[in-house]
Amino acid sequence: MFETALTFQDMMFLAQGAVQTLLVTAIAVVLGTALGIIFGVFRFQVGPWWAAPLTFVLDVFRSIPLLIQLVLANAFLGMVLKLKLSGFTVACGVLTLYTAAYCAEIVRGAIGAVPSTTRRAARSLGMSWRQDMAYIVLPLATRVALPSWIGLALGVMKDSALVYIVQVTELLKSTQILITRLQEPLLLLIICGAFYFVISFPIARFGGYLEKRWSND
């Protein structure tokens, strides 16, 4: 009744694509979050005027399609600077900055959500800025930021489907290669979609649960 030309080897090919997807996502999210926290704290600390150049640059990453960012980065590094970088490196670099741009916004908002009276109380108890950040702001801001950050990490995983443009064979690209060969688009696409869904759905649910549980009311 249900026949398919899909072999075990093809499934392994898809699995390799999935590994690439997860690898690019993991690198981008880890590095991007670290950068995003630095940018976010900087933006909050120096105020809107002095942070304006950084705000502008980060805003550019959020206002231009990721596909164009990847093509531009690839063209700039490869054709203009004549660097020999692998597509994987370019993809990780661009996705890291892309993540950092969104993460900075989340971090800034979360720090802003810590009541200034609480922070002043900490400082007047003799805590240094560093201690205030570590013991007062970090725990309180994390509660605000974590649900959005989970959403961001999942968003990056979904957006990583675009890195095929710099010759990284991630999950969706390997699916497309198999579609061209086997001519069974529906089955292959459902397998591919199910993979994204199975990873994304439970984590998104967990994020929603945290958001509900940690909200103030």
């Binding site: 550019v60 231009i64 399609p65 531009l72 063209a75 999942l154 688009p185 998104a204």
Partner: protein
């Protein structure tokens, strides 16, 4: 400084073509948003209706739209539907894919907005003699759209950015598609895509600033 000679003139010579493409991009985004808002309102209504089947349809739609890549949804709208023997043009496929995505995200936003509207208002409307549909349409919906105005704006920006994915299903007359075709002709990759990036940036800024102006005008208290 660079051993590469920039040829901005060649890129600027193609600007009219790219602006035509930008119009198509904006058109698709606007259409997909209009359809997406209508569908999202319908989905929100489904969720409220309490009918088991309709609630399941809504849940499936929203979760698939939110938990799979937009590119996957566009592939599905093109290659997936094509496997049933219906061959859609890239334009229609792209529109369906983005609309599906928009409706899923917006429906979730509307759900959040609904929570901010007290139940008592709908009940008051019903006790004034309005039907359920009237109460939703005249009392709940306007407030819901007002609360969800900012998320709608964000989704509009997303819709603009998502149009660039149409190229994967063979779309060649939107901004990204035009740029890629020109690139194949001239090989000025960096210059052309930098110009496209600027156009995208300007479009998103116009939307964000325009939305802020509209919000200031509409939502004065």
């Amino acid at each position: 400084m660079f051993s590469y000679t920039f040829q901005w003139k060649q890129a600027f010579a193609k600007l009219p073509l790219m602006l035509d493409g930008a119009l198509v991009t904006v058109e698709i985004a606007l259409l997909s948003m209009a359809l997406g808002i209508v569908l999202a309102v319908a989905l929100t209504g489904f969720r409220l209706s309490g009918n088991r089947f309709l609630v399941a349809v809504t849940a499936a739609w929203v979760e698939v739209a939110r938990n799979t890549p937009a590119l996957f949804q566009i592939y599905m709208a093109h290659f997936g539907i094509a496997s049933f023997g219906v061959h859609l043009s890239p334009y229609v496929s792209l529109l369906i894919g983005i609309t599906f995505n928009n409706a899923g995200y917006l429906s979730e936003n509307f759900r959040g907005a609904l929570k901010a509207i007290p139940d008592t208002q709908a009940r008051a409307a019903r006790s004034l003699g309005m039907s359920a549909v009237q109460a939703f349409g005249y009392v709940v919906l306007p407030q819901m759209l007002r609360i969800a105005f900012l998320p709608i704006t964000n989704q509009m920006v997303w819709a603009i950015l998502m149009t660039s994915l149409g190229v994967t299903v063979g779309m060649n007359f939107d901004l990204y598609g035009v740029t890629q075709d020109l690139n194949a002709l001239t090989f000025r990759t960096f210059e052309l895509f930098a110009l496209a990036a600027v156009i995208f940036y300007v479009i998103t800024k116009i939307i964000q600033i325009g939305a802020r102006l509209i919000a200031n005008r509409l939502f004065r208290y």
